[in-house]
């Protein structure tokens, strides 16, 4: 592994010990997806393995005041655990509320560098008020404190928001627990484009079709998804507004229309069309499909465009060298620059939010793996070791990678930390999950 560790605001020595280094954490969280109106029923299973290079010891006490308090704490614990960056210290026997005077030394003795606690109150109108606190047992003082209010339905989202605050206060990096993911669930002959919380919970169906749906892509503001649907008998690119469920084709030319990618400002889509022969990259207006412009000109395949974070260039897959490799090109023409050189098959480029790391799917000894390429040094590492790992996508903070894997002959959703150390899989008992993509920070 050659990836740089992100800088931590808190660099004091953690109680992470060798005793944990070789320890394989395998936690199994079996949960039933919440069922709201129009929500898919699916039984999800999450498996986690591995530990982060650095683990922060943190205690999350059950919130007091209402039965919902233990559920809130459980969601926060599950979020922090999945990141692989936290070591959860037991809070058994503790009864803390938002006004408790924390015995910092006692929690320090228990092994916790941080203690989170709070109170939940059910208000007369049925809403909940949640007050949360985070304490630093080394500095013996408060780190964070905030109040939320919401309906019972919103408790899960609020719990993720508290987990995000804890994550950011401790690591210095913005959390992604309150973000959403999109993926295609295939059950029998039905394809569903689903939107779920980052932990796979609360899935909602955005589109149900008897024909394949591939390549979902989030708009930068998280309000729309572009994707490819085969419903008209061939691949056509649609833009779908998630709040109104209104959708319209934005690229429906002769031949194939596929591989949509949003520009960082959300105004432009890069797409792949075959209207002039083989697959080539074009740009068009994300709202109306107007101002079609051809970006690449090669005699073979150019596909899978993705914008650099500054919006000025595009990474894409091309087999102009004889095998599929990753290239980068400016939007106004110019000779594309080859980026990937290891092996004979590198596809599906995804750039990290800071623009420094490129993910690809690479074929090694007949297996498809997720590779991570440091663009400054050229150093490459394999993040996964599956047989058929596809469709990588970065979390908006760049710390996690979501991808599709095959286990037991079935497609599942998988995640790996960007340093490759912590892995998780999320499977649906009666379906295949494909083409996952991580949404932006919630706004």
């Amino acid at each position: 592994m050659t990836l740089d560790r992100p800088h931590h605001l808190l660099t004091k020595s953690k109680t992470f010990s060798l005793a944990f280094a070789g320890w394989l954490l395998t936690s199994l969280i079996a949960v039933i997806a919440l069922c709201h109106t129009g929500i898919a029923q699916a039984q999800l299973r999450v498996d986690i393995s591995g530990t982060g290079a650095q683990q922060y010891p943190v205690a999350i006490a059950d919130f007091s005041g209402d039965a919902a308090g233990s559920q809130i704490a459980e969601i926060i614990r599950a979020d922090l655990t999945r990141s692989g960056q936290f070591n959860l210290i037991s809070t058994s026997g503790a009864a803390l509320n938002v006004d408790t005077t924390i015995a910092y030394d006692e929690w320090r003795t228990r092994g916790a560098d941080f203690i989170a606690y709070g109170t939940v109150v059910r208000l007369p109108d049925g809403r909940f008020e949640i007050k949360y606190r985070l304490g630093d047992t080394v500095k013996r003082g408060p780190l964070d404190g905030v109040s939320f209010s919401g309906t019972e339905k919103e408790l899960r989202r609020i719990s993720h928001q508290i987990a995000d605050r804890i994550y950011e206060k401790i690591t210095g990096i913005k959390g992604v627990f309150a973000t959403r993911i999109a993926y295609v669930l295939k059950q029998g002959k039905t394809y569903e484009l689903q939107i779920a919380d980052a932990d796979g919970q609360s899935p909602q169906v955005a589109l149900r079709s008897r024909e394949p749906v591939i390549s979902p892509a989030w708009s930068p503001d998280g309000t729309r998804l572009a994707y490819v649907s085969f419903e008209s008998g061939k691949p056509v690119v649609y833009v779908h507004h998630l709040t109104t469920s209104k959708r319209s084709p934005v690229a429906n030319y002769k031949g194939n229309n596929s591989a949509p990618a949003w520009s960082p400002d959300g105004n432009t889509l890069a797409v792949v069309l075959t209207r002039d022969g083989l697959s080539q990259i074009y740009t068009l207006g994300a709202n109306d499909g107007a101002n079609l412009r051809r970006v690449t000109r090669s005699p073979l395949i150019d596909t899978e465009p993705t914008f650099a974070p500054d919006g000025r260039s595009i990474y894409f897959t091309s087999d102009r060298s004889g095998s599929p490799q990753i290239y980068q090109t400016g939007l106004d023409g110019g000779e594309p620059r080859r980026i990937s050189f290891s092996g004979g098959y590198n596809i599906s480029p995804r750039i990290s939010p800071d623009g420094k790391t490129l993910l690809t799917v690479t074929r090694r000894d007949g297996s498809y793996r997720i590779a991570s390429l440091n663009l400054a040094t050229g150093a490459e590492s394999l993040l996964t070791d599956g047989r058929d790992d596809q469709s990588p996508s970065f979390a908006p903070n760049g710390m996690q990678v979501l991808y599709a894997a095959v286990q037991g002959g079935r497609s599942v959703l998988a995640g790996v930390s960007s340093d490759g150390r912590v892995r998780q899989t999320l499977s649906v008992l009666n379906g295949e999950i494909r083409e996952p993509t991580w949404g932006p920070f919630s706004q």
Binding site: S215, F230, S258, L278, T303, V361, Y368
Partner: protein, 159 residues
């Protein structure tokens, strides 16, 4: 039927078509159930144009192999003689690799067939090439035979 046998059958049929295009192909025609393979009508299920409408490709190959040239020629001659008839060539790949890259590879297969049709005098306006990539496999397994069945371009005639 093995692929080679299939190819040979097509070659024989094509040769017989070329040799006696105006002659009834067999003596069972009078039995009311003409086997119809001599009828050049893509919408007649008995016609060779309906029965033989798939071109198979080798692994990692995107050109029409020798054994399918006569099949493409049969369709090409028909299309050239029926300039109003439209056809969609649908390219497919096996399940290995990424969705979008396979979509592009399926397109290469469809384009290889279209280029042959163009050389046979078929107008570009008659032909649309599309790809389903690996998304609509005919064979659902993951054996070599299943993969081979899915490396394919199909003629899909439009009414």
């Amino acid at each position: 039927m093995s692929r080679i046998a299939k190819g040979l059958t097509i070659a024989v049929l094509a040769a017989s078509l070329a040799a006696c295009s105006s002659v009834s192909l067999d003596d069972k025609a009078g039995a009311g159930g003409a086997d119809g393979s001599g009828i050049l009508d893509p919408f007649n299920p008995q016609s060779i144009l309906a029965k033989q409408r798939s071109v198979y490709f080798d692994f990692n190959s995107y050109s029409v192999s020798e054994q399918y040239r006569s099949l493409v020629e049969t369709h090409g001659k028909y299309l050239a003689s029926a300039p109003q008839q439209r056809v969609i060539i649908e390219g497919n790949t096996d399940a290995r690799g990424g969705s979008e890259y396979n979509l592009a590879l399926g397109q290469r297969r469809a384009e290889a067939v279209r280029r042959m049709l163009t050389l046979l005098g078929v107008s570009d306006t008659q032909v649309e090439t599309i790809s389903f990539g690996k998304e609509k496999p005919k064979a659902l397994g993951s054996s070599d035979a299943d993969y081979a069945e899915n490396r394919r371009a199909d003629f899909n005639y439009k009414r």
